[in-house]
């Protein structure tokens, strides 16, 4: 289980998170929605300890993340897969080497045969051909980079998966492919996941529950149906804005 308990985080004078409380139950997928720059990425960086909260607590798997020692945090991170917004692939390494780096258990990582097989299995799980393994990130499209990022995140068989804007920068077709992939991985791997996104359509598709981060606070949490039925002005404003964007994209697609 992942719990954010009254978490606050400031950068200088800018309060990014102010008393945020959110619980993600085991096996559940929660989509954290909100406009750009509202603190969604900060929230998941707090979950895997890349950032520390100014106040409040973050509990993952029963461990209080801000209070963990370096080695304990490294050990916890081996149970958390993190998919970065722009892939964050190591550009001097091939796709296979990138994925092998995601195998976090030392004995498995040192076993060359196992790690090579696991890299290919992860490529298959994200619908990429084995030939991609020998390519470098610079030779891949945006969508492929995202999928390799997901493959690296699942290589260590994590219990938790954190997705940071998995569909940002992708065209609607590729965004659909990634959303379908997230949905399928949740069913096949049964991990607990937090998906950070400003894409409402994708969030509704992949999540069991949705949370709206609005002006440094969690404004609404609920199932897709509950969020759709919400009368909260911020929720309605956010959903309407995204609907407008969807219409514009659909029109542009129809016109081209």
């Amino acid at each position: 289980m992942i719990e954010l308990q009254n978490v606050s985080k400031r950068f200088g004078s800018n309060a990014v998170l102010d008393g945020v409380t959110l619980t993600v139950h085991d096996g559940e997928t929660v989509a954290l929605m909100g406009p750009s720059g509202v603190g969604k990425t900060v929230t998941i960086k707090l979950i895997n300890g890349l950032l520390r909260p100014d106040s409040g607590d973050v509990v993952v798997d029963g461990l209080h993340v801000p209070r963990l020692k370096r080695t304990e945090l490294q050990e916890l991170r081996t149970r958390i897969g993190y998919v970065f917004q722009y892939g964050a692939l190591f550009d001097s390494m091939t796709v296979e080497e990138n994925i092998r780096l995601g195998i976090t258990r030392e004995d498995e990582a040192r076993d060359g045969a196992y790690s090579a097989a696991r890299a290919l299995e992860c490529l298959r799980l994200v619908n990429l051909a084995p030939e991609v393994a020998s390519k470098y990130p610079a030779e891949l499209s945006g969508g492929m980079k995202k999928r390799v990022g997901i493959a690296r995140a699942i290589a260590g068989k994590p219990k938790y998966l954190l997705y940071d804007e998995p569909t940002s920068g992708l065209d609607p077709v590729n965004a659909d492919v990634i959303d379908a992939l997230i949905e399928r991985l949740q069913q096949e791997l049964g991990v607990t996941a937090v998906v950070v996104s400003h894409d409402v359509r994708g969030s509704f598709r992949v999540a069991d529950r949705l949370a709206l981060l609005w002006q440094a606070k969690i404004r609404a949490v609920g199932t897709p149906e509950e969020i759709l039925a919400s009368r909260d002005s911020a929720v309605q404003q956010f959903l309407e804005r995204d609907l407008e964007m969807s219409l514009i994209q659909a029109e542009a697609k129809g016109g081209s």
């Binding site: 890349l50 991170r77 081996t78 964050a88 692939l89 190591f90 976090t104």
Partner: protein
């Protein structure tokens, strides 16, 4: 009115000094923690040894040509200058002493370090800075791996191994080219050159050169690694880190040169 303006100026100065002091203390603290992390990471040799060899190959082999070229020119110019100054005033074998001592004690280590501050320092800062702004360092951390053992230790150890070796090669090249130049321009024989070089030479001189280059190697690697690792604000930040790293490493070399020279001359 003038008093108010004066008070405001004093307050501004205090603020500037205060901010600068806090910033410097912050840098000193982070730098010290980085070194502590590196010392802690030394036990994870399985991770950094292969990467160190790779870095040493890149850094050493790639820098060899420019280091030898500059050392050769330094030897030649020293030889010509010595000839110009000494001809008709001092015995010619003194040229051997001046060329060998100036190359081994000063020009070899300092010029090599300054070239490598530009070449290796810029490379380290740009690589690490790019990795920071593209979240590759965060990605390593998120995989439960230490960026210090994966990225910093290999670079620093490679520099500490390669830079003294390059300095020794630079010393040798400078001596050789210096002698050849003196031979052709001054008519200095090998016997005279050797006599002069041996007359003032002490084995400690080579250790002196090696110790100096070791100190410079630490400067050329640690400062750019620290600056690159702490890069912020995208492509502009990478550019800023790269130039800052080269300037800081070069200034560090010149400062260390003065300090280490003073210390080593006391020992000598």
């Amino acid at each position: 009115m003038a008093r108010e303006a004066g008070a405001e100026l004093t307050l501004d100065l205090r603020r500037i000094v205060g901010r600068w002091s806090l910033g410097s203390a912050g840098h000193a603290g982070r730098f010290a923690f980085m070194i502590l992390d590196m010392i802690r990471g030394l036990s994870e040799w399985r991770i950094y040894v292969p990467r160190t060899i790779e870095q040493a190959m890149n850094v050493g082999y790639g820098s060899l040509f420019i280091v030898l070229l500059v050392a050769g020119f330094a030897g030649a110019v020293t030889s010509l200058q010595t000839g110009y100054q000494f001809t008709g005033t001092l015995p010619l074998y003194y040229a051997g002493a001046v060329i060998s001592e100036s190359m081994i004690l000063e020009l070899g280590p300092v010029l090599t370090a300054l070239i490598l501050a530009g070449r290796i320092g810029a490379r380290y800062a740009a690589e690490l800075g790019t990795m920071r702004v593209t979240e590759q360092i965060d990605a390593l951390e998120s995989l439960g791996r230490s960026p210090v053992t994966h990225l910093l230790l290999p670079r620093v150890i490679a520099g500490l191994l390669v830079i003294p070796a390059l300095t020794m090669l630079a010393d040798g090249t400078g001596l050789l080219v210096g002698f050849l130049t003196a031979q052709s321009s001054l008519g200095l024989t090998y016997a005279d050159f050797e006599y002069g070089a041996r007359y003032f030479f002490r084995p400690l001189d080579l250790w002196y050169s090696l110790i100096k280059s070791g100190c410079f190697a630490a400067t050329v690697t640690l400062i750019p690694c620290y600056i690159g690792y702490n890069t912020k604000q995208g492509a502009e930040g990478v550019g800023r880190s790269t130039t800052t790293a080269v300037v800081a490493a070069s200034v560090g070399i010149l400062l260390l040169d003065a300090v280490v020279t003073k210390l080593l001359l006391v020992v000598k």
